[in-house]
Assembly symmetry: C2
Homo-oligomer: 136 residues x 2
DNA sequence: AAGCGAAAGCTATGGGCAATAGCAATACCG
DNA sequence: CGGTATTGCTATTGCCCATAGCTTTCGCTT
């Protein structure tokens, strides 16, 4: 079948992202984590006390969409909220959160390594900078 | 804010795909087309008479999910179905479909060109092969 | 020729993720 | 002090994809 799409970087980007996201999701399901969960846990670990709004800005997740994510993580006992003032609350990992993140990070690291290894060596070093140029 | 995610190719892939998809979608809305619509129209044009199943296999869209897409395109008068035998039907562009695709292709070409131009020159040639290695 | 497995097209449903609109409470700043 | 911005939230919607299951038809094998 003739496929005029395969030569389009934008289409390849879409397909690659979909394929890899599905793969990662299937590995994270064993930990009862989603991709957004892990990225949030990693970001909270690196920035303890940050607010939901600030984290959302960093991840480009809107405030409204942070709510269910944080609720899920809090219900799972992975993060805790501490009031900063009357309207803001700082987030931090609980002990369980740190433990869960350790597991998640292992999965992520394996995943990222396999991703890179899939790319022919002569292109490897270019992938990250090229991708970053597309959105940063 | 400390961000441990930006050095992960998988995360960059996700962000880049999201950002570019949103951008393309916003340009296509003026044509009342979605990204899946345009890819389907392009594929049908290149393979007139192909069946829904075959197109779906090429695009990695399951049969069940092809239904609403094709229905939308047919309702818009962009594609037509012709029975091949009792259980299969060949798809082809209508005249309106060809006209709409011409508009869509213009948008896509602008989009793809801008995408590539966003990437520093020394990385450009590597983007497509690196992405293709991730899913093909 | 008959029968059976595979394929085609479809319905129905749900999950994940993101966008929008709007709201109440609070903080900040001139 | 008063207006404005910010925070966290509810509610809703849309897009995309996945699964399960159904009916009809095709095509191969016996």
């Amino acid at each position: 079948m003739q496929d005029p799409l395969v030569s389009l970087p934008g289409y390849a980007l879409r397909r690659a992202a979909n394929a890899t996201a599905a793969e990662l999701a299937s590995r994270l399901v064993a930990l009862a984590l989603r991709q957004s969960d892990v990225s949030l846990l990693m970001l909270v670990e690196a920035n303890p006390g940050a607010t939901s709004s600030a984290l959302g800005r960093q991840l480009d997740i809107q405030r409204a969409n942070m709510v269910p994510i944080l609720k899920r993580l809090e219900d799972a006992g992975l993060i805790a909220r501490a009031p900063i003032d009357g309207k803001s609350q700082g987030l931090a990992l609980t002990d369980a959160g740190r433990a869960k993140l350790a597991e998640g990070r292992t999965v992520i690291e394996h995943f990222e390594r396999e991703l890179i290894e899939r790319v022919p060596q002569e292109h490897r070093a270019h992938l990250l900078p090229a991708l970053n140029a597309l959105w940063r």
